[in-house]
């Protein structure tokens, strides 16, 4: 029986019915990972022993009739989440040998829910990238076309779930790092409201934007996993004390009466026409199912990319100061003095993109530039948030493409950071405004003889995860884009 194609919900049902065991499933997935993960470079660490232990423990619980819907469900974590006793690299050389002595809250909560840890997935270094090409450990390949990128920064998680190496994986989204790879690999990728999920134990890139979420093969799975990771955490002052709804139960909310807003700014000349066509088809399907659709404009939205590239580097320049070669991580050989220790440890430890952002961030926070850059960016950020708030007085969700194009080829954009940054043009707004957003599969574009997936993005008001998930689920009941697997990985 081949179990790797099952979704989380199907696995939960199968385990409960004792159709198969968690150990059986885990062994199959570990076998697939061993066989297929290297060609995708999706995993940085495979925790086979731990996975087998977890699976056995889960089976024992299930045999006693104990456990919940996630007991025995294998998952993978983006290597940005600290895992007690297991290496956490954050895709960087500077943490090549770093073993955290504690579990991130997300890791702890999924573990408590009974999940089985398969391993840690590849990612852009410190989550800085949109193609998973900045990883010190090499790029991740897109299973839909291995000459193409899977998106980033959660590219390893996306490739692993898309290639059916894991039914679900965690990700983090600072400017689109869950949604854009989800779009490029035909997955459902949810970025919750800022503060919905604890950031404790998640290595910080840009603290006011970072948010943990999930990459799955269905909205139903995302609902299951979000429920197990969301909620107040006393260890994160920015996590919000709001009740966690039963996301699975709320999936049944019908589309009828849903008010959708189409952002004029999302259908600009930068949008690939074929991608635009897929999105418009999806809009028609939603309209047919009873949703109303209207055009909207968020005039400040085009400013989101420059705003983001001030705020995020500013925070990263400070967040990454702790990697100084003194207490953990890479330390250069034979430092001559303190300055040499800092310069070489950091110089050798960080890659080019990380350095670029540290320098940009240091610059925008410098005396004499702070007001013109950082302060101004914060003001624009407030405008963007206000624009969204105004939109949500008229519509329930805002809809558009997740990314302007389908997956591009490896190396196509690495020489021009600005072109690379523009990949996140549709996703960054939600981060700046702290809003929940989801990307779901909505079609394919054929390029070079390969079918490449297209993602549809929905953005909702704060804490409207239930709505985003129910709309996605209802759409997935009407369509089967999300069921398609990459050739060779089905």
């Amino acid at each position: 029986m081949s179990l790797h194609t099952l979704t989380v919900a199907e696995i939960a049902a199968g385990l409960k019915a004792r159709s198969f065991s968690s150990l059986e499933l885990t062994l199959q997935l570990l076998g697939r990972i061993e066989r297929l993960a290297p060609q995708l470079n999706a995993f940085l660490t495979v925790t086979a022993d731990r996975a087998l232990d977890d699976a056995r423990a889960a089976d024992e619980m299930l045999a006693r009739g104990a456990g919940g819907p996630l007991t025995g469900v294998p998952i993978a974590h983006k290597d940005i989440f600290c895992t007690d006793g297991i290496r956490t690299t954050c895709g960087s050389n500077i943490l090549a040998n770093f073993v955290a002595p504690y579990d991130a809250t997300v890791v702890e909560r999924w573990r408590t829910a009974g999940t089985v840890l398969l391993g840690k997935t590849n990612m852009d270094e410190f989550a800085m990238g949109s193609s998973n090409e900045t990883s010190f450990y090499g790029p991740v390949m897109n299973p839909w076309d291995v000459r193409r990128v899977p998106g980033g920064s959660s590219g390893g998680s996306a490739a692993a779930v898309a290639a059916r190496l894991a039914p679900a994986a965690s990700g983090t989204d600072t400017g689109g790092s869950i949604r854009q790879p989800a779009a490029l690999t035909n997955l459902t990728g949810l970025k919750p409201t800022y503060g919905r999920v604890s950031r404790y134990g998640m290595i910080a890139f840009a603290s006011s934007l970072d948010q943990a979420g999930v990459l799955t093969r269905s909205a139903e799975d995302a609902a299951l996993l979000l429920g197990a990771m969301a909620g107040l955490d006393e260890r994160d002052s920015t996590s919000v004390d709001a009740p966690v709804p039963d996301y699975v139960a709320e999936l049944a909310t019908p589309l009828r009466g849903l008010r959708i807003g189409l952002l004029r700014e999302f259908f600009d000349k930068g949008l690939d026409p074929q991608v635009g066509k897929c999105v418009r088809d999806a809009i028609e399907a939603l309209r047919d199912a009873g949703a109303t659709v209207r055009d909207l404009s968020l005039p400040s939205l085009p400013l989101s990319v420059p705003t983001y590239y001030v705020v995020a580097p500013a925070e990263c320049s400070s967040n990454l100061s702790r990697f100084d070669g003194v207490r953990f991580g890479h330390r250069c050989e034979h430092p001559r003095d303190l300055q040499d220790l800092y310069r070489r440890s950091r110089g050798e430890g960080f890659g080019a993109e990380v350095k670029r952002r540290i320098m940009t961030g240091t610059y925008v926070l410098s005396a004499g530039y702070y007001d013109a850059y950082y302060l101004k960016a914060q003001k624009v950020r407030a405008l963007i948030a206000a624009d969204f708030a105004r939109a949500f007085r008229e519509v329930d969700v805002v809809l558009g493409p997740t990314a302007p194009t389908v997956a591009f080829e490896l190396g196509a954009k690495t020489s021009d950071p600005i072109t690379m940054y523009l990949n996140d043009i549709y996703t960054i707004g939600a981060n700046l405004a702290g809003l929940p957003a989801i990307s779901i599969p909505c079609g394919f574009v054929n390029e070079g003889g390969k079918d490449l997936p297209v993602g549809l993005q929905l953005i909702g008001p704060h804490f409207a995860e239930s709505r985003l998930l129910s709309v996605s689920h209802q759409y997935q009941l009407l369509t089967d884009w999300h069921r398609r697997a990459p050739p060779g990985y089905d």
Binding site: F81, Y102, S207, T238, S321, R322, V326, S366, A367, Y370
Partner: protein, 478 residues
């Protein structure tokens, strides 16, 4: 030319919370290196700060006690710089929006005049760890026990005009933070220290001169000496045609001089920005009201009351209220004595303080307690012993920890008030000293003292002095 000194102080008071400002590690002093630093203090990847509300409560106490404005919304900011004992590469502090703003304190200067010193702001921040450069054979050791300890940085206006004023102000703040129980005030352990911004200008000029900042002064004596040295250095420099450069200086207590640490050009650009890991600190009116209701009687209020209730001079009231413990000791003595506050004040400020100072003891560790001292003073009041004998008794009490009455009895120090006994002693002395007697009677009045001394000697000092005087005068005049 006549010069005017301008000084502003930045006082760092370590708040007496049990745990650190952003982590649950204990703050106790003197533990083995790095045993009081958890993952948050070590700045591990992924960890986050969580504000200790107790530190906020203490900052608000200070603000209310200095008549300051408590910001309903203040912001924690990151001060970015690299140093091995600064684990995160930034210090969490408050920059543009401090929790306490625009307070003031009144100090009494040596000549008795009062002066109000403005407090620009007081903000919360975390302390760094310690770098240890000795004992590591060319390497540096890092101890992060202190990293994350809460500090209240209290910034004064440039209102101070001399080293003495600066010390008076610093002592006032020192007294206040201990009254408020927000800082133990221990300067040797670094719980209370200051940086002094010093400049000079020609008297009468409105603009300030260029200032130098003297870092990390951890005793009142050093503050005074460092400022005096620095003022002289700057005046010498200016008078010889030189210029003061804006810089950070260190005070070397062994040489008694300040020396340059880094110039303005070498100064870090700290790139302050709001810490995204911490929400703005919102303080509710009810919280402030609750803190206000919990404030103790403050030093100035207490000193005024001592003047009013006990008839003490401003100076005495000031000395006796310099610490809450001293004031409490004094009031316990007065209670035990049933009045006579002036007698109590003289003894607490005189014999008792002298004995404490000699052994470097806090009043709370006095070998003679307040009740015991009241017992001794009662015996002066009721004429059992003279003030002079009382000093002897006090010394014995200090050494032996017995009550005044026990010592008076054991040593037979009870005052002789029996006229016949005193007269007998006088007669004996007169009989022994015919020469002196003749001289006295011939008009050499000065010899009266000789006879007093002889009689006191004969009675081991126990003769009641007033009676002795009277009787002696009568007898000598024949």
């Amino acid at each position: 030319m006549e010069w005017e000194t301008v000084i502003g102080l930045e006082i760092h008071a370590q708040l007496a919370t049990r745990s650190k400002i952003f982590s649950s590690s204990p703050t106790a002093y003197g533990a083995e290196p790095n045993t009081q630093a958890n993952l948050v203090d070590l700045g591990y990847p992924g960890v986050l700060p969580v504000l200790n509300l107790e530190a906020v409560r203490m900052a608000v106490r200070f603000g209310l006690a200095t008549g300051a404005r408590i910001a309903r919304r203040s912001v924690f900011a990151r001060k970015n710089y690299f140093y091995p004992d600064l684990p995160k590469g930034y210090q969490i502090s408050q920059y543009e929006r401090p929790v306490v703003e625009a307070g003031s304190l009144e100090v009494v200067l040596e000549d008795g005049t009062r002066k109000t010193i403005g407090i620009t702001r007081a903000h919360l921040e975390e302390d760094a760890g310690k770098s240890l450069h000795e004992d590591f054979h060319g390497l540096s050791g890092i101890d992060l026990n202190r990293a994350g300890t809460p500090l209240l940085e209290i910034v004064s206006e440039p209102d101070l005009r001399s080293a003495k004023e600066a010390v008076a102000y610093m002592k006032k703040v020192h007294t206040l933070v201990r009254y408020l129980e927000i800082c133990d005030g221990n300067m040797q352990e670094g719980s209370f220290r200051c940086d002094a911004n010093v400049s000079v200008r020609p008297k009468g000029r409105a603009e300030y001169g260029t200032r130098a900042e003297i870092k990390n002064l951890n005793s009142f004596r050093f503050v005074e000496r460092a400022i005096n040295y620095e003022v002289e250095r700057q005046i010498d420099l200016l008078e010889s045609g030189g210029k003061v450069v804006q810089e950070t200086r260190l005070y070397d207590p062994d040489r008694g001089e300040t020396r340059s640490m880094r110039s303005k050009e070498e100064a870090n650009d700290y790139r302050y920005f709001p810490d995204p890991d911490l929400l703005p600190l919102a303080i509710e009116e009810t919280f402030i009201d609750a803190v206000r209701a919990s404030l103790p009687e403050l030093p100035d209020e207490k000193a005024a009351r001592f003047g009013r209730e006990h008839g003490l001079s401003d100076y005495d009231a000031g000395v006796l209220t310099a610490s809450r413990e001293m004031a409490e000791f004094f009031e316990t003595v007065v209670r035990g004595l049933g009045g006579q506050p002036k007698l109590a004040a003289n003894w607490v400020m005189g014999e008792l303080s002298g004995a404490l100072n000699k052994e470097n003891l806090e009043v709370t560790h006095s070998r003679v307690g307040a009740e015991a001292l009241a017992g001794l003073l009662s015996r002066i009041a009721d004429g059992t012993i003279s003030g002079k004998i009382a000093k002897e008794v006090f010394e014995a009490m200090w050494a032996e920890k017995r009550t005044a009455d026990e010592i008076i009895e054991a040593k037979g120090l009870r005052q002789i008030t029996d006229t016949a006994a005193i007269e007998q002693a006088i007669d004996e002395v007169m009989a022994r000293s015919p020469g002196q007697l003749a001289e006295y009677r011939a008009g050499k009045d000065k010899l009266f003292g000789f006879f007093v001394g002889q009689v006191m000697k004969a009675t081991q000092g126990k003769a009641n002095p007033t009676q002795l005087n009277e009787l002696l005068k009568r007898k000598l005049s024949g």
